[in-house]
């Protein structure tokens, strides 16, 4: 296991569209384990492979209070969705920015698990928001894209300033 480096906005690699995983093999399982470790260490509640510069359709999530219910979704697709929910989101790739985004309150997702077995997951509230947020990464979309252009420009300026290294 290893902690991977997380890309930061506005890194263009965050805009890559992720490829489907063809075979869930040992390398993919290693990626999942590293992503989980990276996510827990941050600490974060969700991570997409794109964020650690691997353009594959893999996401890891743990929204549980006890931080011991990891979920891994490979090649996820949304089968059904209902309702609306506005919630504040933050992203490990956009440190220090927290803004409200509206998403579906309930979703049903099909995916493969860490062993390559098909699974179906019904999620609501925070878990639903988190799955949608991570699935956006697979399309190269970031939560800040939903904000007004004015806000986006302000965030870009601020991140640049705050990320300037010594």
């Amino acid at each position: 296991m290893a902690i991977l480096e997380v890309l930061h906005y506005p890194d263009p690699r965050l805009r890559n569209r992720a490829r489907p995983v063809e075979h869930v093999d040992e390398r993919v399982r290693q990626l999942v384990d590293d992503m989980l470790e990276t996510m827990y260490a941050a600490p974060g509640i969700g991570l997409a492979a794109v964020q650690v510069n691997v353009p594959l359709r893999v996401i890891t999530i743990d929204c549980s209070e006890s931080r011991n219910e990891p979920v891994c979704l490979i090649n996820p697709t949304i089968e059904a969705e209902e309702g609306e929910l506005e919630a504040e989101e933050g992203c490990l790739s956009v440190p220090g920015v927290y803004e409200s985004v509206t998403r579906s309150r309930w979703i049903r997702v099909r995916a493969l698990d860490r062993d390559g077995e098909p699974i179906e997951l019904e999620a609501e509230d925070l878990l639903a928001v988190c799955v949608q947020h991570e699935m956006d990464h697979l399309e190269g979309i970031l939560f800040v894209d939903y904000l007004s252009r004015l806000k986006q420009a302000r965030i870009r300026r601020r991140t640049k300033k705050l990320q300037r290294q010594t």
Partner: protein, 436 residues
């Protein structure tokens, strides 16, 4: 997705504090060994929490004792640190109580101890409810003699019976960020103008021709001319060394315990034609001298060696001046290293005094007749300062105390002592010896 605003800063602080408080490692090394958080405000908060918790550790532990109904389990020292982090924010910062409590509760979960979350929540909310009643206790526990280990309080009290409280207070205060302007490149007044242009509030320091103190600490990358070597970060007390030694052009100078090279650089900035040898016994730290000098574009011979054993490195040519900035208890710079008071042991000053004497004995023969040796420590304990010099003078007929017309600090028997906070400076001791 990110977990919660501000949790990353607290989680990073917790990890560092765990290494310091449970692993006995030094705060400086722990902070250096990790990679900084991507958001600079998070990083600043993480550092502030680390320094603050260590500075206020006794007071915080005292409040926690009152609030906890039962002892925490031995393997819950990480939960205790999460509680100290929460209490520190509630008592000593302007962070909203809600944010302080909720991030502390999340810390318990982050530690993989969700069963401790209700405890953290309960203790911190209990504190907020009873804050009024507890504040008298906090005021009492805030007395600086509680924020230092007993042996250190006693040692400072014995050394400075009239000023010990003031010294302990200064140890708990934040140290200012002070710069040394390379006046060969840019005048101090001119550089102060440039800081004003960059909206950095700053003022000149008395007694130090090159020193500027900033109103608030800044990241060095925000300082104009830092990378090109126009300024360095160095406390004003450390900037007293070079003018005291005041070598003439072309003189042969030994900086015997030189790392990380701040005083070495200052000597060379004032007088670039010096033939300067910088020695340090620690290989990693000796490497930092080279880094310091490279940024400033200054020439010196750097050797990794024990200055007290010149056979290993000395070319046999005598030096006109020796700067002997010996390893010490660092009791004068506790305000910069809040972990130090907990890492030091009562027997340290005595052990260090033996090493200091050995370094003095080892380097004295390298000094030419008529030359000067400047003995320096960042200690405020006489056992490492005047006592070492007195023993040396008694044993060496060719050594006498040189003229010191300085007006800073306090005249001791053989040298001058700056106490922490005097003129905003770190605690330092200097004694100038002349070889007959």
């Amino acid at each position: 997705m990110d977990a919660e605003p501000g949790l990353r800063a607290r989680a990073a602080a917790l990890e560092v504090l765990r290494q310091v408080l449970c692993g006995g490692r030094s705060l400086g090394r722990c902070l250096e060994a990790r990679s900084a958080l991507p958001d600079r405000r998070d990083e600043a908060l993480a550092r502030e929490i680390c320094f603050g918790v260590l500075r206020r550790r006794s007071s915080l532990a005292h409040v926690l004792d009152v609030l906890l109904r039962r002892q925490l389990a031995a393997d819950d020292s990480d939960v205790e640190i999460a509680l100290l982090i929460g209490l520190y924010q509630l008592i000593y910062t302007r962070i909203s109580p809600h944010a302080a409590v909720s991030t502390s509760v999340s810390l318990a979960r982050h530690l993989g101890k969700p069963r401790a979350a209700p405890l953290v929540n309960g203790v911190l909310r209990n504190f907020l409810r009873r804050r009024g009643a507890l504040s008298a206790g906090i005021a009492r526990s805030g007395r600086p003699e509680r924020s230092h280990p007993r042996w250190l309080v006693d040692a400072v009290r014995r050394a400075w019976p009239a000023r010990w409280r003031e010294i302990l207070h200064a140890n708990d205060a934040r140290a200012p960020m002070t710069l040394r302007v390379n006046t060969a490149r840019v005048g101090r007044e001119r550089y102060l103008d440039r800081l004003r242009e960059h909206a950095v509030e700053a003022w000149p320091v008395p007694h130090c021709e090159q020193a500027i103190t900033l109103a608030r600490p800044r990241d060095v990358s925000e300082l104009p001319g830092f990378l090109s070597g126009e300024v360095s970060v160095q406390d004003a007390a450390a900037q007293l060394a070079a003018p005291l030694l005041d070598p003439a052009a072309g003189a042969r100078v030994l900086d015997a315990c030189a790392a990380p090279g701040g005083k070495t650089a200052h000597l060379l900035e004032r007088c670039p034609s010096l033939e300067l040898t910088a020695v340090d016994v620690d290989r990693e730290r000796a490497g930092r001298i080279e880094g310091t000098l490279a940024r400033l574009g200054l020439p010196a011979r750097v050797r990794c060696a024990d200055a007290a054993s010149p056979g290993e490195w000395w070319d046999g040519r005598e030096f006109h001046h020796v700067l002997l900035d010996v390893p010490c208890s660092a009791t004068g710079v506790i305000r910069r290293h809040p972990d130090l008071r907990w890492l030091r042991r009562p027997e340290d000053p005595e052990r260090l005094a033996r090493r200091q004497s050995r370094l003095l004995e080892g380097t004295w023969p390298l000094l030419a007749r008529g030359g000067t040796l400047l003995y320096a420590t960042c200690s405020i304990l006489p056992s490492e300062n005047d006592d070492v010099i007195a023993r040396f003078l008694a044993a060496h007929r060719d050594a006498r105390v040189g003229p010191n017309h300085a007006i800073w600090g306090i005249a001791t028997g053989h040298g001058r002592q700056v106490l922490p906070g005097d003129d905003g400076m770190d605690g330092f001791y200097y004694a100038l010896l002349v070889k007959a």
